[in-house]
């Protein structure tokens, strides 16, 4: 099994075949290789997933297939065949016809891919007119029919709308309608659900699965999310630094990886049973080699736990590592026995012994505007948080998570309610609060690119924080404080003298965390601190946050849309919907029935690589306009367990389940629990793991 086998010996037929593709970008007269000798093929009707972290070359593959490479890209070697046509040598006219009729692409950001000044109907009809040769009336009818196919309600009305009148999920459906209008042989999906909320993402993925039984297209599915690829694709290729380092059936490749990088990717994401007090996340050490760096030997060797001298000298060829499986690793046989490198935490965070509430938020509300246009961003929100506790805050975008955090920290002026912190009533805005209270309450922001002042070095940022947050002290004390802060977040001394533009996202976020910890805070609000980071970097940041929490007994209010991260990190969880807390309780209680139907839907929308899922709880429609929230229970318009008039008319009461766990619903725990347990244990539904079907 260890004898090198050239990849070309694998069957190379199929709808799309990429052979030894090598692409460089020219930058200042230098050719920087972005793809090196990438070969794979997609069978007719097959869904092939391409995964890897950002910068690995996934989008370059998509652009090369569509022949949309930027002007400074150069195909150095290799061929891309769409059935019998070689795309690398095809002329512009032939490409134009191929793009419309034989291959189509759905982009990540549907909002910018649609023309904002043309109606949806016109944009879809255009495809039929130019590529299908239909006249205007027939094209409009075809467009309406296609909107029906992608499950948009009331297609006739939708045709007259403009892109900005549609929600993100609807826009993405329209993109699918345009892409499928010509019944292409190949559909390229480049992160089609990134940026959508989990429940919307689940709907779009269900749609893709359903469309596959209707259309015969092969699919190239590009995503950084292993769970989604595992669910959607039959086979998966893993890209690392422009090389296809592993390939195989999606079921096997994530459960039994044969390349250390694939293994690293699967291990750095928290799975369903991992908890911060029992397991450390296992980040991939090091980082992606910079673009164009000439690497001798295996590109992954500098980060690989089993690299040996040979790996640093020879570039590993493609090995057949199993039936239909390929791995570019000399020691692919040893991969399954690589131990978890991260040890469990030395001491688990002290819980239990209650010292009273650190934070009490009572009946907090935040309203914008007045009269008919008034938007209620926070409605009667009450939470409490103990010292050293992690409260996870989840909910879709627009649910008020960030507004709550900003009101607590004093960046937004709450319209009503009270915030008590460490036994003192807090003024509404940070500027009005006493310095010693402000110091104990800090925040880590979402976007690593704007969280640090681009004009200041990391040292200057931390020195300023040390000066303002650690009371008193000389310049020497501050310098010592900065050094120890940098050490606590694992920043090297030389990083301190760099401006943010020279730091990677992960390092920037570490500086931001160090800044928040400069005054030994009691509570740090984390607003999606890892959502802009790659999974391996996310793992180091999450480990760092857990370590700081254990050592300094700091409490977190941790906002995330990623339920996997929240489950790993949080002691208690609060779920928000349309400005209200609808469920709150210990993490395990919230994640297991009985829980609010919305929580149930969020959980079932979670893509996971580690287990097959039960039937999906579908939410109908999109989140209602917060300026005009539904009467009665705010969730009744989308609720899968809708009872009837009572939900429409009456505000639901808090239902107490076990101690500390409560949710807002008309259904009592005694009824809801059994119903939900039954739903999760019933056999897998039709949309689970779609099979390829070729329609005649």
């Amino acid at each position: 099994m260890s004898t090198p086998q050239p990849l070309a010996s694998l069957p190379q037929s199929g709808a799309l075949a990429i052979e030894h593709l090598t692409i460089s970008y020219l930058r200042r007269d230098r050719a920087l290789p972005v793809l090196t000798d990438v070969s794979f093929h997609i069978e007719p009707g097959e869904a092939y997933g391409l995964v890897g972290e950002s910068g690995c070359g996934k989008t370059t593959v998509a652009m090369a297939v569509m022949c949309y490479l930027p002007a400074n890209a150069r195909i150095e070697a290799g061929r891309i065949r769409l059935q019998e046509v070689d795309l690398t040598t095809a002329g512009e006219a032939q490409l134009r016809s191929l793009r419309g009729n034989r291959m189509a692409m759905v982009y990540q950001d549907a909002g910018s891919a649609l023309n904002p000044s043309l109606t949806i109907g016109r944009q879809i009809a255009e495809v039929y007119r130019f590529h299908g040769g239909l006249d205007a009336a027939a094209a409009t009818d075809a467009a309406a029919a296609m909107l029906e196919t992608v499950q948009i309600a009331d297609p006739a009305r939708m045709l007259r709308r403009y892109p900005h009148e549609l929600s993100g999920g609807q826009q993405q459906r329209v993109m699918f309608a345009m892409a499928l209008a010509t019944n292409p042989d190949l559909l390229v999906l480049d992160e089609p659900t990134t940026g959508l909320d989990t429940t919307v993402e689940a709907e779009v993925l269900d749609l893709v699965a359903r469309l596959r039984s209707k259309f015969s297209a092969s699919i190239l599915f590009i995503s950084h999310n292993l769970g989604i690829v595992a669910r959607m694709c039959e086979r998966v290729g893993v890209l690392y630094a422009g090389r296809l380092i592993e390939e195989g059936p999606s079921r096997e490749i994530f459960s039994d990886p044969r390349h250390p990088y694939t293994l690293g990717l699967t291990r750095c994401v928290p799975n369903r049973i991992m908890r911060k007090d029992a397991n450390r996340l296992d980040p991939i050490p090091g980082s992606l080699p910079p673009l164009g760096l000439a690497v001798q030997g295996c590109v992954y060797a500098p980060r690989c736990p089993i690299a040996r001298a040979r790996c640093r000298e020879e570039d590993p060829p493609a090995f057949i590592s199993g039936p239909r499986r390929v791995s570019r690793c000399f020691y692919h046989d040893e991969v399954p026995s690589i131990p978890q490198s991260a040890e469990a935490l030395p001491s688990s965070p002290a819980n239990g012994a209650s010292e009273g509430d650190l934070l009490r938020v009572e009946r907090l509300s935040k309203r914008y505007g007045a009269g008919a246009n008034q938007v209620v961003a926070l409605d009667d929100v009450s939470i409490e948080l103990e010292a050293g506790e992690v409260l996870g805050l989840v909910g879709e975008s627009g649910s008020g998570k960030s507004t709550l955090a900003k009101c607590v920290v004093g960046l937004l002026d709450a319209s009503g309610g009270e915030i008590d912190f460490a036994g003192r009533k807090l003024a509404r805005l940070a500027d009005w609060r006493e310095p010693q209270l402000r110091r104990k309450l800090q925040m880590v922001f979402q976007n690593p690119d704007t969280t640090l002042n681009p004009s200041h070095t990391a040292r200057r940022i931390l020195t300023r924080a040390a000066r303002l947050l650690s009371a008193g002290g000389s310049a020497v004390d501050r310098e010592r404080r900065v050094t120890s802060l940098a050490a606590a977040v694992q920043l090297r001394p030389h990083h301190l003298d760099l401006k943010p533009s020279f730091l990677s996202g992960g390092l920037k976020q570490r500086v931001a965390i160090a800044r928040a910890f400069a005054g030994s805070p009691a509570l740090v609000l984390c607003d999606e601190p890892t959502s802009a980071l790659d999974v391996s970097v996310q793992a180091t940041i999450l480990n760092l946050l857990v370590d700081l929490q254990t050592k300094q007994r700091v409490a977190y209010l941790f906002i995330s849309h990623d339920l996997g991260v929240v489950r790993y990190l949080a002691d208690r969880i609060a779920v928000m919907y349309l400005g209200q807390i609808i469920e709150i309780g210990p993490a395990q209680e919230v994640f297991s029935p009985p829980h609010h139907p919305y929580t149930e839907a969020l959980l079932s929308a979670m893509p996971a690589i580690d287990e097959s899922q039960g039937p999906r709880i579908k939410l109908s429609g999109t989140m209602p306009n917060p300026a005009n929230p539904p009467s009665g229970c705010r969730f009744h318009t989308r609720c899968p367990r809708f009872l009837g008039d009572i939900c429409r008319e009456r505000n639901p009461p808090w239902q107490e389940d076990r101690e500390g766990h409560r949710y807002r619903c008309h259904i009592a725990p005694a009824d809801l629990g059994p119903a939900q347990r039954e739903a999760t244990s019933s056999p897998a539904g039709d949309n689970n793991r779609p099979r390829a079907e070729t329609s005649p």
């Binding site: 090091g286 980082s287 960046l411 800090q442 969280t451 002042n453 303002l468 090297r492 730091l503 990677s504």
Partner: protein, 303 residues
């Protein structure tokens, strides 16, 4: 005090974030150096800079080059066309037009930069405060700006100078004050973008004063639009000061100022065009040069 944590793999994970080895050489001055290199590659900027540099050197060193005293009556023959003796001819009083054209750069390049400096300084102050605080003061200030912008700049300048009386100081002050709201508007819109960024929120949570946030956190990040605005304003200042001289509201006789010379010479335009032609050409090249710099700068900074 937090103790250093054990790194998962000391050395490797810590070096993770640097973008690339080659980028490390630039370090702190990286962005500035990149901009300079891009400017050097921009033909627009280089040509504009060469023209302006020529006139700046001329304004400083003209006494070394001029063949005659620019204000002296050096020739009995007035209104002569260009000749070997007088390269650009002579004016209505028998002064050497070549010497006067070279010397005329100095008053223009004194008034315009000083006026621009006043306008930019005032504009930064007003823009930072209104953009940072928003609210009623911002609304009022911006309506005043709207009102000011509704009048042509030159009408306001003429009005004020006719009240205060013509003098170089008054010209500088008037142009500077008229520019203030225009610059303020540009600065304000840049501040509005920056103040939404998370680093400003973080600075506030640390307890920085508003002044610190405005001048130390925000100001360094809006230097790009300010630099573009400075060059654009400089072009307008040159033009406006020449116009005021032309209207006899600025620099007075016997200065060789271009606007003034054009104003005097226009009477003889039919018979002896030299007296208008050469100073006008000089003025035009300077304004074009400044605008080329502004264009080049904008292209590079907006990349």
């Amino acid at each position: 005090m937090p103790a250093p944590l054990p790194a998962e793999r000391p050395g490797e994970i810590l070096d993770a974030g640097l973008k690339s080895a080659s980028e490390l050489s630039g370090l702190a001055s990286g962005r500035a150096r990149e901009v300079l290199r891009a400017l050097w590659r921009s033909k627009t900027f280089v040509i504009g800079a060469a023209i302006v540099l020529f006139w700046v050197l001329d304004a400083i060193f003209w006494p070394l080059f001029v063949p005659y005293d620019p204000e002296g009556l050096v020739s009995p023959a007035t209104l002569q066309p260009p000749s070997a003796e007088h390269l650009f001819g002579t004016d209505d009083l028998g002064r050497d037009i070549f010497s006067r054209t070279l010397a005329g750069a100095r008053p223009t390049l004194t008034v315009a930069p000083l006026a621009t400096a006043i306008g930019v300084a005032g504009g930064i102050l007003v823009g930072l405060f209104t953009g940072f605080y928003r609210g009623l003061a911002d609304d009022i200030a911006m309506r005043v700006v709207d009102a000011l912008l509704a009048f042509p700049l030159i009408i306001i300048a003429v009005l004020v100078i006719s009240i205060l009386g013509p003098s170089i100081t008054n010209v500088i002050l008037v142009i500077g004050i008229v520019f203030t709201p225009i610059v303020a508007r540009t600065v304000r819109s840049a501040v509005l973008v920056e103040r939404q960024r998370e680093y400003v929120a973080a600075a506030r949570l640390l307890g920085n004063s508003d002044l610190y946030i405005m001048f130390v956190e925000i100001l360094p990040n809006i230097t790009g639009p300010i630099a573009v605005e400075i060059t654009i304003r400089l072009g307008y200042a040159i033009f406006t000061s020449a116009t005021l001289s032309f209207l006899a509201l600025g620099i007075q006789q016997p200065s060789p100022d271009w606007g003034l010379t054009i104003s005097i010479g226009r009477v003889f335009l039919q018979t002896a065009p030299s007296e208008v032609l050469f100073p006008a050409a000089a003025l035009a090249t300077l304004i074009v040069g400044v605008n080329l710099i502004a264009d080049g700068l904008r292209q590079v900074l907006e990349e």
